[in-house]
């Protein structure tokens, strides 16, 4: 069973190996795949198109220069890029940036909420998705199977209990702990940013 949601938006993990080996074409491929997401996250957060350009540039420069610190056993490359994006956005926000935003607010020079774009919500969900990519596999069993049945086949906890022949209480407990774990992955990402 390979639910469609497990696909990582066209990112082929073989490219990750090329990327780590220093293949510039893999960097270009990562840019093609993730630059719009990075740009949209930055635009959403900073509400300034040229600031979003700067963040996007900085993210991929960091991604390339610090590729030796990337550990594919800990996260997939897309999640790593999302994490770096959050860090760069935070840097752009730090003290002086805060003043700039206040200036924009005062002067009315910032982009209005509507101009930030309809893609911004989608970008957050996509970023979250990339962070959680592969996490169901990391849950182990039977948690992984329980959560896949719940997420992708919309089975209730009673149905899962019958299908996997597990006590209902066990299924409920696994659901709670797995959801808590996935939630913490997202919150660690945000806290680190």
């Amino acid at each position: 069973m390979t639910p469609p949601a497990q696909a990582s938006h066209g990112w082929d993990d073989r490219l990750t190996a090329s990327f780590l080996a220093g293949d510039e074409k893999a960097l270009a491929a990562a840019y093609r795949e993730f630059a719009p997401l990075v740009h949209t996250l930055a635009l959403r957060s900073l509400a300034d198109a040229s600031a979003a350009d700067d963040v996007t540039q900085e993210v991929f420069i960091r991604v390339w220069r610090s590729r030796s610190t990337f550990n594919p056993d800990v996260a997939r490359l897309p999640a790593w890029i999302v994490g770096i994006t959050r860090n760069v956005i935070t840097d752009a926000h730090s003290a002086t940036a805060r003043e700039v935003r206040k200036a924009h607010a005062v002067a009315g020079a910032g982009l209005a909420a509507g101009e930030v774009g309809a893609g911004s919500e989608a970008a957050e969900v996509l970023a979250d998705r990339l962070m959680l990519d592969g996490e169901l596999e990391r849950l182990g069993e039977p948690q992984g199977s329980i959560m896949k049945l719940a997420f992708y086949e919309d089975l209730t906890h009673e149905q899962i209990s019958r299908k996997l022949d597990l006590p209902l209480g066990t299924v409920k407990s696994h659901i709670r702990r797995s959801l808590t774990h996935l939630r913490s992955r997202l919150e660690v990402d945000h806290a680190a940013s």
Binding site: K25, A103, H104, A122, M147, K172, L182
Partner: protein, 254 residues
């Protein structure tokens, strides 16, 4: 009504249509449970929904050009990866490269370094702080015999430590920064930095393992260029950069 049981909360977040009128009613009146529910719901959404990526904003070609230039990438990857409609072949033939090579502008200045933005920033500082902060951010004045500059260090969000810092010059002309805090609040470890006024550049002076420390200021470093003293909270993660989490900060004045 007591708070929702964590398993109940998980099921509510997981199943939109799970019948639990009492539970859903409780979410309407209990901010604590509602906040937990929202976080779980976000997690569920992230896994279950397929976001529409067609509405994302696309950076212009100058962004890749800047990356290409900054990293000194090969000509074969000069073209903006986002420019073509489809996937570029992995091995593009040499003649496919554009014959008229574009002249790339230098890497753009970061937005907070641009004059217009900077003026806006300065305006904001004046507006927000009534001019006081801005005055204190002026470059340090020419050196005096021993104490060159000092700063009051005040806490940033989530922290309550405070203290002071001063730069002193020894007889041989070497300078050192002495930092004193009233407590060590780092969750990881404290690292001491000198930072440019626009935060675009920073110099690490070292690790401060207790509530005070003395650090050599590199010869040739102009204090006027790096007047902000910053003590950060650094996780032990092998990342040499600033964690972006500052405990205290202050601006050196003479």
């Amino acid at each position: 009504m007591p708070h929702l049981d964590p398993e109940q909360l998980s099921l509510l977040a997981l199943y939109d249509d799970w019948e639990d009128a009492d539970g859903r009613e409780h979410l309407n009146v209990c901010p604590e449970c509602a906040s937990d529910y929202a976080a779980l719901r976000r997690t569920v959404d992230a896994v279950k929904t397929t976001p529409d990526s067609t509405s994302l904003s696309v950076p212009g070609p100058q962004v890749w050009a800047g990356i290409h230039r900054e990293l000194g990438l090969a000509d074969s990857v000069r073209e903006d990866p986002l420019s073509g409609p489809g996937t570029k072949p992995a091995e593009a033939p040499a003649e496919a490269a554009p014959s008229n090579v574009a002249v790339f502008s230098p890497r753009k200045k970061a937005w907070w370094q641009r004059t217009g933005t900077w003026i806006a920033a300065a305006a904001a500082v004046v507006l927000v702080a009534g001019g006081g902060i801005w005055a204190s951010m002026r470059p340090a004045q020419p050196p005096q015999p021993t104490q060159l500059a000092q700063a009051q260090l005040t806490p940033l969000a989530q922290y309550s430590a405070s203290g002071s810092a001063k730069v002193v010059e020894a007889a041989d002309g070497s300078r050192s920064l002495e930092v004193t805090l009233d407590k060590d609040e780092a969750k990881g470890y404290q690292e001491v930095w000198l930072i440019a006024p626009d935060l675009s550049r920073l110099v690490s002076l070292g690790v401060m393992a207790s509530d005070s420390g003395t650090f050599q200021v590199p010869a040739g470093l102009q204090l006027a260029d790096y007047p902000i003293v910053d003590v950060s909270d650094e996780p032990v993660d092998g990342n040499p950069g600033h964690s972006s989490v500052s405990i205290v900060r202050g601006t050196l004045t003479s």
